[in-house]
Symmetry: C2
């Protein structure tokens, strides 16, 4: 959906992803006429796609309770296709709250998982990105939720970064054991005891260390995770805005800018949110990826790539297997918690 321009960008992005994943086939839900018009520019994609008309539209302002009744919307139909086994994964750039509500209702939460979480990759100065979750699906979280997020995030990191035992940390306001809420300290105690899980729990981290490359997964409740994500985005934009102002402040600095252009391009590439587009709802019986509403074709291609990778590596099965390890250890963990009190 999203008007002529929105459909064009979406199709261009899917066409890019099609080049990267030759085997994929696509079902494109939305305004049939607009999609078909946009596909004229992408014969390769057209050959691998089926177009299905969606007569309803979920708008950005729709409350989730209103949106879930729109069964003929593109996001509802895409999720229904995943549920029916006709599609492996759904990718949407629509209203996040609506997408989350529909996905939960239709696909249900996985056995062993109490609540799904929204996860995304963020850039670091290290060898790989970092998986952050939850980014806003759950305003308040207990220790069980946080432990489950750790397991799900680690499963994602193993796929995304090809690691055996991703380094997991919990976001806190200090790194000492006594810092933070009871929920956080309890989750840390459980993870410390669960040594057989395919992850290395390294304790707490703080907001200023997200991009340092010291962790492969950072776990937080959805409120502070959302605040951290948006603050990072806002600050990156703030600094680049200042940089632009500085470079246009004099003739001399404008000349300097022209000479430094390749360097600035490198910076821009690193900070371009399109390179990290595609947030995943982890913990559902099916893969659902949210693409940012303002993503360009490269960004959309990234979101489709994320969905394809999680599907190829069967993330749902991996999480289920890992959660079995947590259940077996929960008796030990509880004793640890009691001992810590």
């Amino acid at each position: 959906m999203g008007g002529d321009e929105g459909v064009r960008v979406m199709m261009a992005g899917v066409a890019l992803a099609r080049h990267r994943h030759e085997g994929l086939r696509f079902t494109l839900f939305g305004d049939e006429a607009r999609i078909k018009a946009a596909l004229d520019n992408h014969p390769n994609l057209r050959a691998a796609s089926e177009v299905v008309h969606a007569s309803d539209v979920v708008s950005a302002g729709d409350k989730p309770s209103v949106a879930i009744r729109k069964k003929a919307s593109s996001m509802s139909m895409a999720i229904a296709a995943v549920k029916a086994g006709e599609a492996g994964a759904a990718v949407s750039s629509g209203n996040t709250g609506a997408l989350m509500a529909m996905a939960k209702l239709a696909l249900r939460t996985m056995p062993g998982i109490d609540r799904p979480a929204l996860a995304a990759l963020l850039p670091t100065l290290g060898d790989n990105d970092v998986v952050m979750l939850d980014l806003g699906a759950n305003t308040e979280c207990d220790a069980r939720n946080l432990v489950q997020f750790a397991v799900m995030g680690a499963a994602y990191a193993r796929i995304a970064f090809d690691l055996e035992r991703p380094r997991v940390r919990i976001m806190n306001i200090g790194t000492e054991d006594m810092k933070g809420t009871e929920e956080i300290r309890d989750a840390a105690a459980i993870l410390r005891a669960a040594t057989s899980l395919p992850l290395s729990f390294d304790g707490f981290t703080e907001g200023d260390k997200i991009g340092r490359g010291e962790a492969d997964v950072i776990v937080s409740d959805g409120f502070s995770g959302n605040v951290a994500l948006k603050t990072a985005e806002g600050t990156a934009r703030f600094v680049t805005d200042l940089l632009r102002t500085a470079f246009t402040s004099s003739i001399r600095s404008k000349i300097g800018f022209l000479i430094s252009k390749p360097a600035m391009h490198l910076l821009k590439h690193h900070l371009d949110p399109n390179n990290h587009n595609g947030a995943v709802f982890l913990g559902l019986n099916g893969v659902v990826v949210k693409s940012h509403g303002s993503a360009n074709d490269k960004g959309v291609a990234n979101a489709v790539h994320v969905a394809a990778r999680l599907l190829e590596e069967d993330i749902t099965r991996r999480i289920a297997a890992d959660m079995a390890g947590v259940s077996a250890l929960s008796g030990v963990a509880s004793k640890q918690e009691l001992a810590a009190k």
Copy 2:
């Protein structure tokens, strides 16, 4: 304290502040010999100072419960001087948790305030900085706490930015009324009803809008406030690190950097945390300011300036007067809350 170098930087900073606030007098608590040696370079400051030896040291790793027993530490003695009325304000660059615990214990919370909060100024692209609070003093907060933070933050903003009615927003994970926790929504309802307060409550804001200049005060619980502050610091450093890498990636970009140096200096000045050094504990019967442990002389001078301004403008009295307005309105607010449910 903080070794020879720490004392030298602290004294150089206080000397700078002495130039800006001619009338101020200082009592300098710490290692007497080191302080006196450092004062040799600042005869002006020496003439306006008294040195008092502190035989105890609070270290960075001391738990608050251990630190509060160190009565002969510089931070404990400085706070005791405020309590005794011998000093108007205390400034320290020591352990934040210890300083907070000592200040609460000795100075007590103001009438009408349940919990003090840590507030600081952050840079924006607007006309003035923004007051953010709480930055970590209170891990969990209820609606009453958040309302009190709003009143205290507004009192600070009126002094720092010379405004009549600062624009106050609450940090949330969306700007719609239904977003966030119950505590946040209740606090918003109370502030919306309290129209006679000397502030303009403008609803919610999000992490990506902290630096936009759309609010003069941003209120949050101490957990997400701390996450936001540290994420902003970490991201600014991340971007400038990338920038440095980009500029040293080729001969061409190095030349560009040399030419752009004045522009880069402008950027560095804007992002230098020393220009925003000095976090205040608001809500105590006395002014206590925390200077960052890694601040340079300009940073220390800023922290002293913050303390001096709050003292000159009598922030404690202002907050007390404003809180009377909230109490008178609390009946109305409760009805509003009920109506909203």
